[in-house]
Each structure stands twice: as structure tokens, then as C-alpha cells.
């Protein structure tokens, strides 16, 4: 078994309204920043032991499917990195 960190990023599907991101973008503009668009996403970093990076990625995908993302409104992606031994 090897230690991995699976990073699950959950974002709204293109075309789904994101009022919080719009509010954030307007606040940045009020601070004088120039920007065209802003999207927000949730990132989950999951530490786990697994036989392989593929197995860790598979487990993280199932976590996204079953809880972390809502397939009606979200897309997600998973990245896996080996953890440094402690």
C-alpha cells in the first residue's frame, strides 16, 4: 500500500448560473481589478492508502459520484499524487 492524496475538484457545469461567483467578480471589480469572468470551484484533498494510483483515483471518483458532486449541476475531475513518506 502506498499513501496518496487524491484532489477532487468540483465545479458547476458550463451554463449553470453561479451567483456567488458573480458576486465575487463584482466585488473584485469594486476593488479596481479588471477581469472578464470568474468561476469558483470546490476542492477536496483526500489522503488515502491504496495499491496503486489508479485504485486511489477510482476510489476518489466514486466519492465524487456518490457525495462530493451533484451530477445534475456539477462536473468534477480527480488528480492523484503520491504522498511523501512521513
Amino acid at each position: 500500500m502506498t499513501g496518496y492524496t487524491a484532489t477532487v475538484t468540483v465545479r458547476l457545469k458550463r451554463g449553470v448560473l453561479d451567483p456567488e461567483a458573480e458576486t465575487t467578480a463584482r466585488a473584485l471589480e469594486r476593488l479596481g481589478f479588471e477581469l472578464e469572468d470568474l468561476r469558483s470551484a470546490d476542492r477536496f484533498e483526500v489522503d488515502m492508502e491504496a495499491d496503486s494510483a489508479e485504485a486511489a483515483a477510482g476510489r476518489a471518483e466514486e466519492m465524487a459520484e456518490r457525495l462530493l458532486a451533484n451530477p445534475t449541476i456539477h462536473d468534477y475531475d480527480v488528480e492523484v499524487a503520491e504522498r511523501e513518506p512521513k
Partner: protein, 227 residues
Amino acid sequence: MTVAVVRFGGSNCDRDAVRALEHVGVDAELVWYRDGLPADVSGVVIPGGFSYGDYLRAGAMAARDPIMDEIREAADGDVPVLGICNGAQIGCEASLTPGAFTTNRSARFQCEHVHLRVETTDTPFTAAFEPGDVIELPIAHGEGRFEMPEDRLDRLESEDRVLFRYCDSEGAVTDGANPNGSKRNVAGIVGERRTTAVLMPHPERATLPDVGGTDGAAVLRGFAGSA
């Protein structure tokens, strides 16, 4: 024979629901989510509130709680199930009904009275109305914007599964009368079984005459009548 009002940690409309149901003559009891449904359950209300503190997404945690398997089983056995507000969010997250309720267009919590146009009357919840009737109920939510891909919403409408749409006092379904940016002004729908429903407005807060309007009583009576 009794209606179970399922209380999660963070539910806060549970007692209102029991009191409103009792007012329309229905035997209702609070059920703590860890205790499971009573064996003789004849109806289930998933009440409003902030289960699990709205962590992750409103309703996401409660929707994965083991009692939801019992509620799904009851629903499959034609026991009527009504999810109100947070209960509606839980119902969608648990796939009792399709779609999702997410952040209001305003990005704010909104607490106000709204008008609703009755769409289908082919459900116990709306059987007392005529299509096009306009009723008034309160809303109180931050994540009430109904979302669903267009093609699936087309199918939902073709199956006559929209209960209510937000409208103005004359019954016109307009963008101005849409409090939260819900797709096609949808405020509530039924599942594949027409005895399973979710809605964001609160019928239990418009049932007792001493707290204002009573348009919600017919929704609860209809629900209980099929229980």
C-alpha cells in the same frame, strides 16, 4: 396509521409541520432520523431547516443518511412523501425527485411571500385545486433555485410533473415573479410516483389561521388524504 415528520439535526420546521398537520386533522409525530420510520407509517414529511448545517450543499448529507433508504422504500410502496424546503433539497439530493435546488439568483437568503400557479392537479398535493389557480405561500431559503438540464425539464413537463410555478398575483408566470431564478419558474415537482413531491415554499407555514394565510392547508390535506 401516522404521518412521520423526520427530524434531522438542524431541522427547524419539524414542529410547525406536526402542528399544521394536526390542525388539518392528521395524526403526525416527530421521528428522530436515527430511530428509523415507525412500522405503521402512512406518510412521510421531510421538513425544512438546515440539516447538517447545509454543509457541502443543502441537503447533501441528510440525503445519504440510512433513513433515506427507508423513506425510498416507503415511497416505492406508494406511501406519500413530501419534502418541504430543506426537505425538498434532501429529496432531490436523494433522487426521490429529479433536478437540484441550488443558490438563489440573488445569492441571498430570501424570506418572503410568493404567489404560485397550480400546474398539474393530478397529484394528491394539488387535487383540491384547478389548474391555473393562484395560491400564496411563504418561502425562506438561500438555495431554492431549481436547476435541471433543458431536455430533462422538457420531459418532466411532458409528463405533467410540475406542481407549482412562481407567478404574479394574477397568475402570470414571469421572470419578475421568479424569486430565485428557478428554471421555468418551477417551485415544486413530483417524482416518478405522483405521491412523492418536493417544493420550496412552505405549506405548513400557511395553514394555521393565526399566522396568516391558509392556502397551504389544502396541500397538506391532499397529502394526508392519500396517506
